[in-house]
Symmetry: C2
Subunit: 190 residues, 2 copies
DNA sequence: TCAAAATTTAGACAGTTGTAAAACCACAAA
DNA sequence: TTTGTGGTTTTACAACTGTCTAAATTTTGA
């Protein structure tokens, strides 16, 4: 990413970025990520190849920007607003809503890309990271010796695991069921 | 992978596979995975390019085989032998040992490949998968409504999270400390 | 031991990638 | 209007990828 996202940028650059990510989203719904070429992306939105490399390092960079655009919708402030206690549940619900909204897109993506493919893995990793940063502020304090970063990663991991199960492994699951899964996982069974 | 691993294969094929993965391991210690080319791999072990594509689809395929070779050392039977109760601890110790043994290699790899790079992610994913299959046999039964596969993935995730912290994020940690982290994470703090 | 079957290798090919230099354009300041 | 500046586009290029064909070599089994 040569233009840092969230940066001030002129109308033209914004339009170009939007066009490229639009192309990518369309292509992701049509074919395997591996088979998508930079040429194809550029044809789609009618920009020359050089312009693509002007904005992005490669197609991985672009797809990263796509995930960034998606995850923009999870509002960080939701968490800070609440007293720490149920921060996790709030964030989970928020993420669940976001994934629901994008269900069509996600279905199309997993139709062409296996669940363990680099693409899907990358997607999940992106969200795990953003969720980790969200969670690392609102964590309950007492965790013995375990470093806080590790704890935040742990919660983010588990949230994303459930979301993956529901939305990418395509198990029909209601929000209530998903909440139950999360709670049961986080509660020691023995 | 065109030759299914674990298959019966003649001495020659075995030697070839070994030579290629040897090359890959060496190169991984020297430079970023992205920058490694198939040509380079072949020069290293003095096999023609056509032979490479005879055995592997691409370099990702080869590196997958490398991880497979590494993880061979975790013996599945360890788990089956034990009564379910402490299966998790046993597997964790076993994996910790394996990662310790390969510490030099891992250090060299993360020296050239960022922790969030596709390569490292792929590495962790591979182990998460094998650990999931190991764990899905020896899980404690009572988990409410949560599907068993999900539970196994959860434990595998958490184990690998700690291992990643210790061996890839390079935090000096003893086995005892690591065990504590794992236990604290799996125990609900509230 | 020999011939058939299978595997390995050399060489070539079209398509892709990422980079670099130069031409081009839009827009603002002089 | 002219000029300068920053960004866009064109074009060209060297390297890599993955596939294919045909020749060479090895393996197999009768």
């Amino acid at each position: 990413m040569k233009y840092t996202p969230g940066q001030k940028m002129n109308r033209n650059a914004a339009r170009t970025l939007a066009a490229f990510s639009e192309s990518m989203f369309l292509l992701l719904g049509e074919k395997e990520f591996d088979k998508i070429t930079v040429n194809e992306i550029c044809q789609r939105c009618d920009y020359p190849r050089a312009t693509f490399y002007n904005y992005f390092d490669d197609k991985y960079d672009l797809v990263d920007y796509c995930w960034y655009q998606l995850s923009k919708d999870i509002h960080l402030d939701v968490v800070q607003a609440r007293p720490s206690g149920d921060a996790l549940e709030t964030v989970f619900d928020e993420a669940f809503r976001l994934f629901s909204d994008q269900r069509d897109l996600l279905n199309r993506i997993v139709a062409h890309n296996p669940i363990d493919s680099p693409l899907v893995t990358h997607f999940l990793n992106h969200f795990t990271r953003t969720m980790t940063t969200i969670l690392s502020t609102g964590m309950p304090k007492r965790h013995g010796q375990t470093p806080l970063v590790l704890v935040a990663q742990y919660y983010a991991n588990t949230v994303l695991l459930v979301l993956k199960w529901v939305f990418l492994s395509q198990h029909e699951t209601t929000l209530a069921e998903a909440r139950t899964y999360l709670k049961e996982l986080l509660t020691k069974p023995v």
